[in-house]
Amino acid sequence: MKRFLIIAGFAAAGIVMVSCNKVRRSPGSAYMPDMAYSVAYETYAPAAERLKQSGAQYNGQPVPGTIARGEMAPYKYKNDSAGYVNSAGVVNPLPALDANQYLEAARLYLINCGICHGAKLDGNGPLYNGGNGPFAAAPRNLVSDPVVTGMADGTMFHSITYGKNTMGSYASQLTTSQRWMIVHYIREKQKAATGGAPKPAVDSAAKAVVDTVKKG
């Protein structure tokens, strides 16, 4: 009997050792966790039942009509075809970028836009990659495509804000002023590509935009 118990004990220990998994799926336990767990609801902490039932979300949207401190007034047009046409008349409220703002705009572009439109704005970012990437539709070439070069600043802003075709809305990732900065940045790059040609007049640009709306 005693021998049997010893053998059984070793066998149990062996099974425990073998079944030990290296993948750690649990966070483990704490000893006397004084002030370790927040009494208040922490951002991204698992939502308590009561919070879940109330429908509160940790990344809910800001209260409608509120403006973040230091941020410019929100964009006035809605996400519909009339708003798209009207957007051509909106002028970029930001003055031209200085050197530091240009760098910041370039950073924002590379993080948020370059992934599809390419670091060189040639419409060939890593996600498209000449058709080898996962993205099936070719993104617009932002420096040479006439749809973009002829597009009014406001329409470009409208498209970044609400998305266009397969492009999503970037309103949650970029603030209003950051979106206008990126519009400036794209214009600067277009100017550099064409050797400093002047911007097309707003009228013809608006016309081109209306044409594209008609095309669908």
């Binding site: 483990g28 927040s38 996962p134 993205f135 949650s172």
Partner: protein, 377 residues
């Protein structure tokens, strides 16, 4: 291979140690390729030529420096390595430990055998001389043996108990299963999406933030299948169907890929991702302070995220780990150029000390990175 190797090029017949020919080549690449048969042959061999440099962007003394570096490297590589030098030193210390361990184990076994032999011989001699002694106790009841085993058990057990106790509430390697099998390797590694595309708040706020469903849908409105990447596996070896995981995202988003135009983003439900990196409530940590002001790479604390399918906690996130980094990390004090942080101009004494050579660099510790109330308040 994009061009001829630089090592030893100066000794070739064509140059024969004449640096002037090298300068001529660097500053007149475009002309020489057409006129000189030697360079024309090289162009034919490699298919392309190098960029021409201006004299003011790459002065002759810089070219000299490059060539002296190349010569140095060639000399270093040609030198036969002395035994135990460079790469071997790292492994030799661990090899030594193993050898010492094996030797002491063998010695211990020999000592045990000798002790047994000794007691047996004693018994035999006692028998021969006719001295009656009580039966010797078997070794597992021998107090000396029991004491030795107890000491070993105490030391080894104590080591693991202490280690386990220190590890309580630390979550290194924590790798929970997430509601959707989201592979950072596919997104940030293969497809090169910037970390800040989804975790943009790391630049601006305390939290790195987990993206809401609409950020996923920016791309996944169009990308509705996983077809082009490598096969995906869970940590237990189970294969993952990437397209089915994207469908899970669509379920949360309320998106029907066949009827994309009808999608209403406001009906989306949040995905309850499991938080991996948990700091105790009594510690303050701010992402933007580290990422934006400190210019720390994400990978410094989070490991090779771009190679992880399922993310796990890379760092210990213990106080020792924080403090160690604050002791070692040097602060970029060059606020004079545009990229530097002008805030550091207030540390006048350090700037003077650097100028006078008293200090060679300033670490986070020096500007208060070890003050208790920096993180605990």
């Amino acid at each position: 291979m994009t061009g001829p190797k630089l090592g030893g090029v100066i000794d070739k017949e064509y140059y024969a140690g004449d640096m002037k020919k090298i300068y001529n080549w660097v500053y007149n690449v475009n002309n020489l390729v057409g006129s000189d048969p030697y360079y024309a042959a090289l162009k034919k061999q490699y298919g392309s030529i190098m960029t021409q440099f201006e004299k003011n962007s790459l002065p002759e003394k810089d070219i000299d420096a490059i060539f002296s570096y190349v010569a140095q490297e060639v000399a270093n590589n040609a030198k036969p390595k002395a035994p135990g030098e460079s790469t071997e030193t790292a492994t030799s210390s661990s090899q030594n430990a193993v050898i010492f361990g094996v030797i002491s184990l063998i010695l211990a076994v020999i000592a045990l055998i000798l002790m047994q032999v000794n007691s047996n011989l004693k018994k035999m001699s006692d028998d021969a001389e006719g001295i009656m002694r009580p039966e010797p106790v078997p070794f597992y009841r021998n107090k000396v043996y029991i004491a030795m085993v107890a000491i070993v058990f105490f030391v080894v057990g104590g080591y693991y108990v202490t280690k386990g106790a220190i590890g309580l509430q630390r979550q290194t390697n924590y790798q929970p299963e997430q509601p959707i099998y989201y592979s950072h390797k596919v997104h940030a590694g293969i497809n090169q999406i910037n970390c800040l595309y989804c975790h943009g708040n790391a630049w601006e706020s305390k939290h790195a933030a987990i993206p809401s469903v609409n950020v996923c849908m920016n791309c996944h409105k169009a990308i509705n299948e996983y077809a082009k990447g490598p096969k995906l596996y869970k940590e237990n070896g189970e294969e993952v169907n990437g397209t089915a995981e994207i469908q899970k995202l669509y379920d949360y988003a309320g998106f029907d890929p066949k009827n994309a135009a009808a999608w209403d983003p406001s009906k989306a439900k949040p995905i309850e991702w499991v938080k991996i990196h948990n700091l105790p409530d009594h510690v303050y940590f701010n992402h933007s302070q580290h990422v934006r002001a400190g210019k720390v790479q994400c990978q410094t604390c989070h490991g090779e995220i771009t190679a992880m399918d399922e993310v796990k906690q890379f760092s210990e996130l213990s106080m020792g780990w924080c403090v160690n980094c604050h002791r070692q990390t040097k602060v970029d004090f060059n606020y004079d150029d545009k990229k530097g942080n002008k805030f550091y101009s207030i540390y006048e004494k350090f700037h003077n000390d650097i100028k006078s050579g008293k200090m060679d660099s300033v670490t986070v510790k020096d500007i208060g990175g070890l003050e208790c109330q920096k993180c605990h308040y």
